[in-house]
Symmetry: C7
Subunit: 239 residues, 7 copies
Amino acid sequence: MIDKDNNQQAYDRGVSVFSPEGRLYQVEYAREAVKRGYPGVGIRTEESVVFASKSNPTSSLVVKDSIEKVHKIEDYIGAVSAGYTPDGRRLVDQVRVGTQQEQLRYGSHASVHTVAKQVADHLQESTQVGGRRPYGASLIIAGVDETGPRLFEVEPGGTPTEWRAVAEGRNRGAIIEHFENEYTKDISHDGAIELAVNSLDEFSEGGVTTESVDVAVISEDEPFYQMTEDELAVYCEEE
Amino acid sequence: MIDKDNNQQAYDRGVSVFSPEGRLYQVEYAREAVKRGYPGVGIRTEESVVFASKSNPTSSLVVKDSIEKVHKIEDYIGAVSAGYTPDGRRLVDQVRVGTQQEQLRYGSHASVHTVAKQVADHLQESTQVGGRRPYGASLIIAGVDETGPRLFEVEPGGTPTEWRAVAEGRNRGAIIEHFENEYTKDISHDGAIELAVNSLDEFSEGGVTTESVDVAVISEDEPFYQMTEDELAVYCEEE
Amino acid sequence: MIDKDNNQQAYDRGVSVFSPEGRLYQVEYAREAVKRGYPGVGIRTEESVVFASKSNPTSSLVVKDSIEKVHKIEDYIGAVSAGYTPDGRRLVDQVRVGTQQEQLRYGSHASVHTVAKQVADHLQESTQVGGRRPYGASLIIAGVDETGPRLFEVEPGGTPTEWRAVAEGRNRGAIIEHFENEYTKDISHDGAIELAVNSLDEFSEGGVTTESVDVAVISEDEPFYQMTEDELAVYCEEE
Amino acid sequence: MIDKDNNQQAYDRGVSVFSPEGRLYQVEYAREAVKRGYPGVGIRTEESVVFASKSNPTSSLVVKDSIEKVHKIEDYIGAVSAGYTPDGRRLVDQVRVGTQQEQLRYGSHASVHTVAKQVADHLQESTQVGGRRPYGASLIIAGVDETGPRLFEVEPGGTPTEWRAVAEGRNRGAIIEHFENEYTKDISHDGAIELAVNSLDEFSEGGVTTESVDVAVISEDEPFYQMTEDELAVYCEEE
Amino acid sequence: MIDKDNNQQAYDRGVSVFSPEGRLYQVEYAREAVKRGYPGVGIRTEESVVFASKSNPTSSLVVKDSIEKVHKIEDYIGAVSAGYTPDGRRLVDQVRVGTQQEQLRYGSHASVHTVAKQVADHLQESTQVGGRRPYGASLIIAGVDETGPRLFEVEPGGTPTEWRAVAEGRNRGAIIEHFENEYTKDISHDGAIELAVNSLDEFSEGGVTTESVDVAVISEDEPFYQMTEDELAVYCEEE
Amino acid sequence: MIDKDNNQQAYDRGVSVFSPEGRLYQVEYAREAVKRGYPGVGIRTEESVVFASKSNPTSSLVVKDSIEKVHKIEDYIGAVSAGYTPDGRRLVDQVRVGTQQEQLRYGSHASVHTVAKQVADHLQESTQVGGRRPYGASLIIAGVDETGPRLFEVEPGGTPTEWRAVAEGRNRGAIIEHFENEYTKDISHDGAIELAVNSLDEFSEGGVTTESVDVAVISEDEPFYQMTEDELAVYCEEE
Amino acid sequence: MIDKDNNQQAYDRGVSVFSPEGRLYQVEYAREAVKRGYPGVGIRTEESVVFASKSNPTSSLVVKDSIEKVHKIEDYIGAVSAGYTPDGRRLVDQVRVGTQQEQLRYGSHASVHTVAKQVADHLQESTQVGGRRPYGASLIIAGVDETGPRLFEVEPGGTPTEWRAVAEGRNRGAIIEHFENEYTKDISHDGAIELAVNSLDEFSEGGVTTESVDVAVISEDEPFYQMTEDELAVYCEEE
């Protein structure tokens, strides 16, 4: 996907520099960092949003809850990060800051769209201004606000895009294609959870178990909720 | 258009550096980034301005409205960006800031010309002062103010130019030539919409459909209005 | 004019660096940028100053007035820029700032000389202090103040020179030679307009028409005035 | 583990730069610095946390207490560092600052999790922002707070992970594997001390003696306590 | 005068760097810039100082007065610059600032020596501190103060030297040698003017005329006075 | 000790850069600067600390007292530096600043340990933050405080280590080995002075005389005292 | 003295960088700049200090007094600089600032030692902190204060050393050797002047005359006094 001839090396080590073809190689390399990460998915139904992520406990001694891949931002907004883990954590901090500012300005529920745009601004700046590198992570930001359920993906270059169902990280393309075939606008809440879990099971090496998958949901009448392994059992069995 | 001999490489990686021929290669490369983007057009009639852009939903799961290519700035000013998407979003933010300042200073309607000049200043600075790269995006800024309908294009180097009809992005030259043949000063509002849609249909790969084209209009008695797919159907059929 | 042996390349990419011969190549390259631009001229008579510039509408759809080459600074000061267009616009902003400061300090009429010197200071600084490149533009600044009509040229290195008649941009040398032959101290206001238009007609490719030439005048009893195409017709015909 | 072809060298000397594969080599090299350091371990029981570290007195003249590897942060939080010693000392300072801030905000007991996250933020920033290198050290931060005993490891990239038992530094992998076999959730306080000492004895060159091992413990009813050589004798003998 | 072997190039492009022989090449190159400029001279008599400079109107259209080579600083201090013109102008600004500060501190007459030292400090700093290049200009600063007539030369490295008669710019060496032969301590005011004009006539290509030479004088009972062409006629004829 | 293949050169000129093996070459080179310096030693007895250093008067005209190698910090703290002399002087200034701050905070006697840690922090920072190089010097800081006699060595990387007896500079290893054989915990004050002088005599080229050795002592009932040549005679003779 | 193999060039152009052998080449090169300068000497007697320097009037037109090589700092402190002249002047400014601060703090007589240390600090900093080069000059600072006559030399690296008699600049080694043979502790004031003048006469090309040597003295009952040519005649004749 990225050709490495000598000419490219002349332009790919400085964030602030365009190549003669008008490309920003450092941003493209940051996207490669995203592709190296475990996959995360988000699905929107008519009354809820569903997050799922494969977690990667490298040892049985790791406290599973501490591998934060699905993050609660506030009662009705959550996020999943993919890519270089420390950068993802930092971006989630950005979302939290943006959300708190939104709430202070407009009352109880923050607008998911505005929060996604603020993170996008932060990401774009890190690709244009000198003195820092781009973030090697992308985010799925979703929640329920006055306009109903909303789901955005923000990528390292700084573009926020709204999706009905989206994936990030390894095998992103394959999972999105899977969603294009399986997702319907009137998908049920349960159907969305099932689709999310199945997609991670099918398109990640070794599949997922109730232990290795994280699922969280937000619906209009229930704030951010991280599902238990017991609750997940039914979806993992069905597979 | 850009010759890549060894001598050029000596001068094209630093924003603050002229080549022996007095050229700024980084600005020229930023213009290449603009040429890589989807086309956008703007047309001015005697009582209105029309914006059109081909949107690029990479998947059927993308919420079409979220691919912001035609942006409402305020009631009577809009903008279309072309080129590297995250930079275009950032520039639109600049336009919004400029517009709000104008309104605070001079009352209800902001001057389109002044807003265009402010964005141009910001772009020029990013090509002269160290520590940041140029923007890889251009903007069509248009609207209706006390002087009537106005339409400007601002390019990465920082020059604002007023046009009656203009295009940016891929195939810019061909579309402008098409406008030179088809545009008349007394073009009707409907005629302008038709011309805008046709130009994108004819000069972009695969043409456009009611789904893949965004059209917005501003007229003296109606503020920024984004046309629906139903309303666009008649223009796309005519083709 | 500029020899490109290997030795030169060692010294021409850093603004803050002299070559062993005591030359500042970046400033010389900025002057090349000026030579690449459309020509502008300024002529001083005993009671007025005349500005003329060839404008370059790249398309019939460009609104001619928006190609600002002759700029009103305040009632009795104007400027013509040549070279890299975005830099010229920025310099004109510098002139405006300088003029406003002068007026605040000394009352109604700003001193043309002082304004020219302030812009020259700004230009010199951009060739000596790190973190920004020189401007690739020069300015003719002229007007009428308490000392009568005054006309200055400021070049990228930062030297202000007072002229009776001067040209900048492409074919500068040829036009100045033309002025040396044709200009007389008691040239009439009309004669100056005619000389200005003729010089652009003769020494630019394709000559000029009432459409492609911009002329503005300032005289002791009439502030900055941009001539109309009708008014210009007589000068273009005479040719 | 790290391949050194020519291409890599192009991307591994600047902190702010991704390689074409999306890797941050400077962070990976900082992890190599951690692997060069003496090992440290941390084990959590149901009512306590245990720290152990092999100290490296290079001479019999060194005052053993001064080789600080197990650090008291406050009454109920401690830390063990591994890797490049001066960087480890600096990170411990960061933990102390974070802890004091937590206490000022929330009363007597600081939250171990929050402190771990603050250090992780500091570490991530040093890998993204220009002007400083990453830290060549990792930390085990553990303690007892309102949520009970907690134990985190923070690595040079800036990821905090919660563990039941973890090792850092030389032979980290082998010691963790040893823990995976020997650790049980209901391990006793004494059992944890024994396991910690044994792991260092078995997996470091030359083993450990009461002199070369540092052990500290925190339990719900006893604040940070550094064990004496006499107290350690029983654990070292058992081996 | 400057040998250009490969070793030199390693040390001559950074202001802040000594060569292995303890030389600062950038300062030496700045002195080359001075040698490229038109010559200026200064002569001190027992009751006055005389400045002369060859001006270089590149065209008959240049307003001769605007080629400022002899600058009035205040009533009893003047300056002549040689070398790169924009830098010379900037240095004159430094002298003016220094003089105004002196006057504010010590009353009506500024000390010529103090002003010369302040400019020297500014020049030295630009050769030692990063972020700016040295000035490519030197100054003759002279005047009459409480200690009588004083005359200093300040060169790009930042050394102020007091002279009885001195030259700067092209052919400096030859003119100073001429002064050494012709100057006497009891030279009359008229004799000094004659010597100054003659030296420029003899040692510059094409000699000088009343039009191409600038002469200014300061004496104990007459402040800075720029001589007219009529007054100069007698000195140019004598030649 | 340091291998100089080509690969190393790629990583050893930037302070903020790790090598692929996780090494900081600039810090290692700074330690080489320490090894080039004259040796200094420090010995702690049960009621005192002893400093000794070989001084290097390059000429009989040097005032011996001015070769400060053993520095009084305050009444009960002293320091010996080794390595690059100007850096050593600067570090001693750091110790003085730290000591004064300690005294202001905690009353009359400063804590030797705290002062040593503050200097270590300063040293570590100079190896991690851009814009300055590491210090090419190490310090022995010792004194008597409320906890009794204390003796620390701080090396260029920023690690403070507590010793009973230590050496720094040339032949450090050999002298420490000598101490390991000769030092006993209950060494008398006189015995410590003798051991210190002997070690410098034996392990430095040409040995030491009462003229070339500096000795200072601090004990519980006597503040910092620099021994005279007469007092030293007995220790030098014994040898 | 300085070997120029390829390896050295890798480390000698950045102030903040150690070579693998622990050397700071830029400081060593600055010392070369000192060696290129005219010699200066300082001698201390039991009740006075004597400064002498060979001045280098490049022309008979130079006002000899303006070649400041022996500088009065305040009534009882003076200084002689050697090396790169502009840097020497700047350092003398540092001494003046330091002296004024001392006087404000401690009353009428400043301590020569403290002033020397302050200049040394300034010099050291310019070799360690980025953004400026070292000074290419050294200073002899001497005077009479409460402790009697004192004489220090401060070199570019930033080490202050106290001497009884010292030389700096060209032939420093030979002159110091001469002093070692001729100087006695009870040298008379006259004898010191004679020794100083003789040393410059013998060890500089062409010797010295009453015109080319500067001598100044400070004694306990007479402040800084610059000797006249008449007074020097006797010392120059004796030779």
